[in-house]
Symmetry: C2
C-alpha cells in the first residue's frame, strides 16, 4: 500500500474501512499528498473487493504498470530478467522480488506466462512490483532479439548448460539478461538455442535441480556480486 | 518413489494400482531387489491413502527418517543448515532441496518448526529428503551449542546483520552451519545472539528482503562456491 502510494501513477484511488482509516493516518496523509482519492467504506465493501481471507481494511485500486519492452529497453538497462512460460503467480512474484533485491533493472515475461499483475503474484513480490519496470510480451524470439540488440548477452539458466555459473570464463559484470524457463519443464531447446550462452547452476549434492525461484536467486546474486565487486 | 526405494530402510512397503504396476516395471524390479513388499490394490485404495488431487497410482509407506542431532554430528559434517521456527512445509521442503543442491551434509529443524516429513514438505524436496540426514529438536540453544561444539561456526542469516555475505572477512570455506529463521519474522534477537556471526544478504535494489527459500539459496551457494573453489 505504502509502495503503491509512493509510486508515480500506481494508486488511482483507495477504499478503506473506518477502523483502517483511523489506524493508518500515515497512509491517509500519503494519499492526500499524492492527490489519490480516499474513500471510507463499510467492512463488507472491502471484503467484496478482495480475494484475501483476512483483508487488512485498506485497498488501493492501481493502474496496470506493465510497459512495452521497447520502453523498458529505452532506459538502457544492463541487468534484466526474462521469464519464459512461467505459469505460477507465486513464482512470478518471487522472481520479481529477487530481481529487485539483486538490483536488476526490469523483468520481462515472455511467451505464455502468467499475468505478473495477478493478485497472488503482486502479494509475492512484497512491494517489489512497484520498484522496477515490468514488461509483458507473447513473442519470445522477438523479445530476446530486442534484448540482445540493446547490448545485453542473454544467458539461459538450464541445468543441462555447458557453462557453469561459477566458471572463470563467464563474465557476469558485462550487460546481462537472465532467461529463466517454466517451473516444470524449464526451457525448450529451441528457446535456449536463442541465448548467447546456456549456463548451469552447479549441483554439489544429489538434487536434480533447484526450483525456479531459488535458481533465479542464485543466478541473479552471482550477477549482483560480479557487478558490485569493483 | 525411486529415491525412497534406493534409500536404505526408507520404503517399508508399496501400494500400487494395476495400471501403475504395469507401467512402472522398473519400480517393481527395484522393490523386489530391495525386498520391499509390493501390494497391488484398487484405485480407490490409492485415492484414500493420499491427499494429492491426482495421485500417480503408486504409494510407498516410508519410515520416518529423522535422526537425533547427535547422530548427525557424529558424521563430522562441516556444512549444515539449521532452520529455526520454520512453519511452512513448502518452505521447509525448498530449503532441504537447496541444501542438497549446494552440497550441505544435513538439515536440522529446531524450535517450533513444521515437521519436515509433512507430505507437502516431502513433495517440495523432490526426493532430496532421502539424500541427506534430517534432524529435529525443539531445543534451540542446546542444538546450536552442539553444532558449535562439533567445530562449525553458526552464521545467522539476517538482513540486519553486521557482516555482508560477500565481505572479504567472511571465510565461507571454513566449517559452517547456516541458521535460517521464520518466514515472517526471521530470527528473534535472542536466537541471533547465540550465533558466531550475523550475516546479511546484501540488497542491491529496493526490496526489503528475500523470502526464506531464496535467502537460503543465496547463502548456501555462497558457501558452496567458497568450499569448491580450491
Amino acid at each position: 500500500m505504502r509502495e503503491a502510494l509512493a509510486h508515480e501513477r500506481a494508486a488511482l484511488e483507495v477504499f478503506a474501512t473506518v477502523d483502517a482509516t483511523d489506524q493508518h493516518t500515515d497512509l491517509v496523509e500519503a494519499a492526500r499528498r499524492h492527490e489519490v482519492p480516499w474513500h471510507v467504506v463499510t467492512d463488507d465493501v472491502v471484503e467484496a473487493m478482495t480475494d484475501t481471507v483476512q483483508p487488512q481494511g485498506v485497498i488501493a485500486r492501481c493502474a496496470m504498470l506493465d510497459r512495452p519492452l521497447e520502453a523498458l529497453l529505452d532506459r538502457s538497462p544492463t541487468f534484466l530478467v526474462v521469464c519464459a512460460d512461467v505459469r505460477d503467480p507465486g513464482n512470478a512474484g518471487a522472481v520479481i522480488r529477487c530481481a529487485d533485491a539483486a538490483g536488476a533493472e526490469g523483468v520481462v515475461f515472455v511467451g505464455d506466462s502468467v499475468d505478473p499483475f495477478n493478485p497472488k503474484s503482486v502479494r509475492a513480490t512484497v512491494g517489489s512490483i512497484f520498484h522496477l519496470p515490468i514488461a509483458v510480451s507473447r513473442d519470445i524470439p522477438g523479445s530476446l532479439a530486442a534484448v540482445q540488440q540493446a547490448g545485453m548477452a542473454v544467458l539461459a539458466a538450464d541445468g543441462k548448460g555447458d557453462v557453469g555459473l561459477f566458471d572463470d570464463g563467464l563474465d557476469l559484470s558485462a550487460p546481462t539478461a537472465w532467461l529463466m524457463g517454466n517451473e516444470a519443464w524449464g526451457l525448450p531447446d529451441e528457446v535456449s538455442a536463442l541465448a548467447d550462452s546456456i549456463v548451469a547452476v552447479p549441483i554439489f549434492g544429489r538434487a536434480e535441480s533447484l526450483n525456479l525461484a531459488t535458481a533465479a536467486a542464485v543466478c541473479l546474486y552471482a550477477s549482483a556480486r560480479a557487478r558490485n565487486s569493483h
